[in-house]
């Protein structure tokens, strides 16, 4: 009885575990970086070809597994332990498994080559929004030549309009990948690479660096915000205007502005109308950002303070030094930066 009960227990535990595992397991495809969530034409091309190849792969796997299982567990062995059939090759069989895979491969090769050319047009499509992407150790810089805009780590693009990315690097090779918007391409120093895609659905998309680029490669993420055309226009307008800071109203912000101007911040960072540094990210509208420091922290005052206090702790190898500001100064500085909307 006891045994039976515990067996039953075990069974239901296993069943529960399995179904939980299935649920947890499938969750992986619903993540913000999943390649199975398709949000651009480019991603759709990849996905469709993937699906086609995947189906053939499954069929081919079966043509290996089924005969193997049959041979191992179902077919009776030949009589007599030492007898060996002199089957050393059957020409029709060998021809079949040479020619059939070849045909399947051709059926894959045709769309492959078509898409390979289609995804890499020699010139930018007319009317495309051009975005210059520059990889840095370890953050991303996005420039919009059309709007004279520069923004770090968070990219805004309008839904429905084709975007033509120019990928470059300021130091080593990086990889630009926002999976739901399509495949990756490397950002290579001394070279301009391109990605063409048309985002389809407004939303927040995650991206990350996919080419090992040194110590904090893991901390080089970014966000893509696909906006409705109206929202995008509004965003552009906001970015183009000088940072809307509540300077006059808040003494903390004012003190923070003074700290910023006095500290070495100005040598690396640009704030429109305040400083013209270019080594680090442009902070003109940092207060309106969702994330910080290569999109590894959400933009909260605490996180901003943590980052300024000791960047090395958040992002090993970060080029921004710990400035040795006291907590009060950091508090002011954070208030100032967060006010830059």
């Amino acid at each position: 009885m006891k045994l039976k009960a515990s067996l039953g227990c075990l069974r239901s535990a296993i069943l529960a575990g399995l179904s939980a595992a299935c649920l947890a397991g499938c969750e992986v495809f619903n993540g913000p970086l999943s390649t199975f969530i398709i949000r651009s034409d480019f991603a759709r091309d990849s996905y469709r070809l993937f699906r086609y190849t995947f189906i053939w792969d499954c069929i081919i796997l079966l043509t290996v597994l089924v005969p193997m299982v049959l041979a191992l567990f179902w077919l009776t062995p030949r009589t007599g332990p030492q007898e060996q059939e002199h089957v050393e090759g059957t020409s029709w069989l060998e021809a079949a498994w040479t020619i059939t895979p070849a045909l399947i491969l051709i059926s894959m090769a045709i769309p492959t080559i078509r898409l390979t050319f289609q995804n890499q047009p020699p010139t930018p499509p007319p009317g495309a929004l051009r975005v210059r992407v520059i990889g840095h150790q370890w953050w991303w810089e996005f420039q919009y030549p059309e709007y004279h805009l520069t923004t770090p780590d968070e990219l805004h693009i309008p839904a429905g309009r084709t975007v033509y990315f120019d990928l470059e690097s300021a130091d080593v090779i990086h990889g630009f990948w926002a999976p739901q918007l399509g495949g990756k391409r490397d950002a290579i120093p001394g070279h301009v690479n391109h990605i063409v895609l048309t985002p389809e659905k407004p939303g927040e998309y995650y991206g990350e660096c996919t080419q090992y680029c040194g110590l904090s490669h893991a901390n080089m993420r970014f966000r893509v915000y696909v906006d409705t055309p109206e929202n995008f226009a509004a965003w552009v307008k906001q970015q183009q205007s000088a940072p809307a800071t509540a300077a006059g109203n808040d003494p903390k912000v004012e003190a923070g502005a003074a700290v910023f101007a006095a500290a070495p911040c100005v040598t690396c960072h640009t704030i429109e109308g305040v400083s013209k540094g270019y080594i680090g990210p442009n902070l003109s509208h940092i207060g309106s950002h969702q994330t910080l420091a290569g999109s590894i922290l959400s933009n909260t005052p605490e996180n901003m303070a943590k980052w300024i206090r000791n960047p090395e702790e958040v992002k090993p190898g970060a080029q921004m030094p710990a400035l040795g500001l006291d907590p009060v100064q950091i508090d002011y500085l954070v208030a100032y930066l967060e006010s830059l909307k």
């Binding site: 595992a21 992986v28 792969d57 796997l61 990948w177």
Partner: protein
């Protein structure tokens, strides 16, 4: 059919494992011992790489984990990859199995160059230790096993970590090339009489093709590493954009090596599986001929597919499409192999050994890895998968579930032959099931993680990305697998201490190694067998009549005397030479004067090997037993070496041509090269070749004095050529074209400089021969010694012919 040695004789003579003391292993040249040393060394490094892997898995078990620092994680993934590829799978496949099984399978007493074989091992060991010694000097290398430029430039990776990596790989590359050359010559020339290419065991086919791949794949890597070392030490800019170059050059050179390398790792595994499955299915291998051709075809195509590692670099749609097609094409011969294994199983009569289980798991896992590989041949899919955990899953299925599982199958298969002991099947089962389940638990979910967008080489990831569950799962799997491998160690120790003695032919095998005692005597075969068919030993046992075993082949022979067998004598020079080479490496990162000492040791050891035995340069002799082979092994080796060297120069020339005309500042070739002077040097070098053949003719007809004088004259012309080059370099230097000045400067000095270095080596070689002839060490019967030196000399000459027209005369051609 004289195959087996009578039992009494076997008992009387010690086997290869126990003869001599422990120190005799240091000077051994016996391929079986060298194989054992390769195996033990690789196993130790596998433990190290496994430790690194477990640490990484713990770090990745949860998001935002702090088990390893970013720095340590990067070191670990770099060295895990470098170790598994260069210090585990490659030396296991070629060094271990190649040595343990290949010479026995072709019925040879040893490899073609036993001392070279020992040399390969010692260089491998010292190179590996050298690379890992970076641990003592500020940490392990941390720029990835692929070492992508320009991250590896000193500006981005200061310190000596990458120096250890680059120089360590250069040293290991020498070991690989020498080992492969040895195997290639052995297989081409030393098969037992009657064993045609189409009667070779399929394992030997795979070792042959893998060896050729090493010979053609390592020269581009060597050149890539030389550029890297120059960038880091001499301030050139081969991979940085400062002078107009591109870091992509590294990727081409690296993957030109790197993709054939994948097949260098996989082919020996294919070979093992093609032996194990027929043996335990009691059937001959299905479609032997197709298998052999598929092996060759895979090797051939694999040299033209490297670009599929670079789809994300933006090579352009034409190159993308070409590499996509060639990569897909490789699926066809690979498919032939898989289906032939399955067909071999069909209606087999199975013996469920651990070895067989590993082979079956291999077929399934390798097929899975191959099928995902088809996706990476298609750029649109690959762009969503490359650099993600999907790739990690893919190549672990190919190299872990593929190669490594095959090696475990091979280990269980040849263990009794190698050690003379049987392994415990029960422990084997535990080992297999834990390893197999653990492996799939670890790596199958990585497909999901990759499709879920998880990139490779990240030491941490944020929460909320839906990767947590499978990462934890993978980590648990890794520990299951590690436990499995632990049981392998237990099984090995158990077998060595308590295992029952193995008979000569425990599996009722098909190939020649099972015809000799376990473990084999030092000389392997008392008499070199004559082969009449494939599956030679099976045919000897059963004749053409399956089901009727010829009773006891061994018993056919009366217990009697074993004929006098020439076994190569031990030599201390291989380990000495390898130590010298290691000193060169140490000197490069520490104190350059040590390098000079190292070079001196290398030179003396080479001379030592050359003149150690009075056989140098003699024609094959009956006493040594090498007169039964159709060609002269050393000459085959020389030509193979020259062919491999051509690829080295091709990579240098290709770089020169690709960078030509891309200088940001002058002066370049057009303004600076002096045709009259170089025409004169060219003429001098051509004439030196004439003198060289005259010298050889002198030695061949026994006129040593004339031969020697012509040798001196040849070396003299070589010196004049070098003098001209020194003058030219000096002049350019004073005109401002230094090594670091522009692209022309660095490519020109490197290409022409390396040629000059070869001329210098040639001069030293010829002078050594000339001076040796004073001591009567190069008599008429050893004229071959001069011929080998001459071949090298002429090779240097033909390289110059190419350089003269491509570099000096064709100044208009650019890479476009």
């Amino acid at each position: 059919m004289a195959v087996a040695v009578p039992k009494e004789v076997v008992k009387a003579r010690e086997n290869y494992l126990t003869e001599g003391g422990l120190l005799s292993w240091l000077v051994t040249v016996d391929h079986k011992r060298i194989g054992v040393m390769y195996g033990l060394t690789s196993l130790a490094f596998m433990g190290l790489a496994g430790f690194e892997a477990l640490a990484m898995r713990i770090q990745l078990a949860q998001p935002n984990n702090h088990f390893l620092s970013a720095d340590l994680y990067n070191q670990f993934f770099t060295m895990h990859g470098t170790t598994m590829i260069f210090l585990v799978i490659m030396p296991l496949g070629l060094g271990f199995f190649g040595n343990i099984a290949m010479p026995l399978q072709i019925g040879a007493r040893d490899v073609a160059f036993p001392r070279l074989n020992a040399l390969s091992y010692w260089i491998f060991l010292f190179g590996a230790l050298f690379m890992y010694s970076s641990f003592l000097f500020g940490g392990l290398p941390d720029a990835g096993w692929f070492g992508y430029a320009n991250l590896t430039e000193r500006f981005f990776t200061p310190g000596s970590r990458e120096d250890f990596w680059a120089i360590g790989l250069l040293i290991l590359g020498i070991s690989s090339i020498l080992g492969a050359l040895n195997f290639f010559v052995t297989i081409v020339n030393m098969r037992a009489p009657g064993m045609t290419f189409m009667r070779m065991p399929i394992f030997v086919w795979n070792i042959l093709v893998a060896s050729v791949l090493v010979l053609v794949a390592f020269p581009p890597l060597t050149v890539g590493l030389v550029f890297l070392v120059m960038d880091r030490f001499l301030g050139t800019h081969f991979y940085s954009t400062v002078a107009g170059a591109t870091p992509i050059l590294w990727q081409h050179l690296f993957w030109l090596f790197g993709h054939p390398e994948v097949y260098i790792l996989a082919l020996p595994a294919f070979g093992i599986i093609s032996e194990v499955i027929p043996c335990f299915s009691r059937k001959p291998l299905f479609g032997y001929a197709a298998m052999a051709y598929a092996t060759a075809l895979i090797g051939f195509i694999s040299y033209g597919v490297w670009g599929h590692h670079m789809f994300a670099t933006g090579m352009g749609p034409i190159a993308d499409a070409a590499f996509a097609l060639s990569t897909m094409a490789i699926a066809i011969p690979t498919g032939i192999k898989v289906y032939s294994w399955v067909a071999t199983l069909w209606r087999g009569n199975f013996v469920w050994t651990t070895s067989f289980l590993y082979a079956l798991a291999f077929v399934v896992q390798f097929t899975l890895g191959g099928l995902t590989g088809v996706m990476h041949a298609q750029p649109p899919i690959d762009l969503q998968q490359t650099g993600s955990y999907f790739i990690v899953a893919h190549f672990h299925y190919v190299l872990g579930g593929g190669s490594l599982f095959a090696f475990l199958a091979g280990l269980y298969y040849w263990w009794p032959k190698m050690t003379g002991r049987m392994m415990n099947e029960k422990l084997g089962r535990i080992n297999f099931w834990l390893t197999c389940i653990g492996f799939n638990m670890t790596f199958f979910p990585m497909h999901f993680l990759g499709l879920g967008g998880m990139p490779r080489r990240i030491y941490t990831y944020g929460a909320g990305l839906h990767w947590d569950f499978w990462n934890m799962f993978c980590t648990i799997g890794a520990f299951v697998m590690a436990t499995g491998i632990l049981f392998l160690l237990i099984a090995m120790v158990e077998s060595l201490t308590r295992g029952p003695e193995a008979p000569a032919d425990p599996w009722d095998g098909r190939t020649l190694e099972w015809s000799i005692p376990s473990p084999p005597p030092v000389y392997n075969f008392a008499e070199i067998p004559h082969v009449h068919s494939k599956d030679a030993f099976w045919e000897m046992k059963y004749g053409n009549n399956p089901g009727h075993k010829v009773p006891e082949v061994a018993a056919e022979h009366e217990a009697g005397h074993v004929p006098h067998i020439h076994v190569p004598a031990p030599s201390m020079f291989p380990i000495l030479l390898a130590a010298g080479l290691a000193l060169c490496g140490i000197g490069a990162v520490a104190w350059l004067r040590i390098t000079l000492v190292g070079l001196l040791i290398v030179y003396l050891a080479i001379v030592g090997i050359g003149f150690e035995y009075p056989t140098y340069g003699e024609h094959p002799s009956k006493e040594r037993g090498d007169d039964i082979y159709p060609l002269d092994s050393r000459k085959v080796g020389m030509w193979t070496f020259i062919g491999s060297e051509s690829l080295f120069f091709a990579s240098l020339i290709g770089t020169y041509m690709a960078y030509k005309g891309r200088d940001l500042i002058g002066p370049t070739a057009k303004e600076i090269l002096e045709i009259p002077l170089t025409s004169f040097s060219t003429f001098v070098l051509l004439m030196s070749s004439l003198l060289m053949v005259l010298a050889l003719a002198g030695f061949e007809r026994g006129d040593i004095k004339a031969g020697r004088n012509w040798l001196f004259a040849t070396a003299g012309l070589g010196c004049i050529f070098l003098g001209g080059q020194a003058y030219e370099f000096n002049k350019f230097y004073h005109e401002g074209v230094t090594l670091q000045h522009n692209l022309f400067g660095q490519t020109f000095y490197t290409l022409v400089g390396f040629h000059g270095l070869h001329v210098l080596l040639g001069v030293i070689w010829l002078l050594t021969l000339a001076f040796a002839s004073f001591k009567d060490m190069v008599p008429k019967k050893r004229a071959l010694a001069v011929e080998f030196g001459g071949l090298y000399w002429h090779f240097v000459d033909i390289v110059w012919i190419v350089i003269f027209s491509l570099v000096y005369l064709m100044d208009k051609v650019t890479g476009a």
